[in-house]
Symmetry: C2
Subunit: 116 residues, 2 copies
């Protein structure tokens, strides 16, 4: 049996869209750092994991990684691995399909990004 | 100086509408028992604190009280004290004014009430 070919880019594990759980998403976003990350990701672009690129340079990299993992495991974000780099983006299509109107309401209600 | 007259019904402390914080609300609702309570309160009526009236008869009364306090302190609910009884209701007007569309999106997205 031959090994499956490795794709160059891989995704870290994440729940299927249909398995995204509302309470888990609310728990993930019920934290000021993770809400700050959501606001960063709201532009729809991929973001590096460097704390300084996220306005979180006062936090240790491992702390930022922890918060990113909570968001990914909740189904809020997707993480693409390309070599040694990781790029995070919002799962807007999946979230909008699963919880219509929720993301827009959250992003409208969220305070402007500031220190967390 | 005379003491202020006591009103017959009193409210337990709660944040002013303008002070309701989004992240605190999400944290409050990011728990299956508290989401279950939100669904009970969504009818707009006042509810007693008896666990059996809330479908939470498997939980200790002190556990239910804890969850109610988290919701009240986050600004999600109001608690009216009348004698030895307490009645809890959703602060829908305040929440809708502060976070337009959020409550409707949450209630639409929430799973049907079931065991928690």
């Amino acid at each position: 049996m031959t090994a499956a070919p490795m794709t160059e880019d891989e995704r870290l594990p994440q729940p299927a869209a249909a398995d995204i759980d509302l309470v888990t998403v609310l728990h993930a976003l019920g934290d000021p750092v993770r809400m700050r990350l959501l606001l960063s990701y709201a532009d729809g672009a991929e973001h590096s994991c460097a704390p300084r690129d996220l306005g979180l340079e006062h936090l240790h990299k491992s702390t930022v990684s922890h918060h990113m993992r909570v968001l990914r495991e909740a189904g809020v974000t997707a993480t693409r691995v390309a070599g040694r780099n990781r790029f995070v983006s919002l799962r807007r299509t999946d979230l909008d399909a699963r919880f219509p109107g929720l993301l827009d309401a959250l992003l409208s209600a969220a305070p402007a990004p500031g220190p967390v």
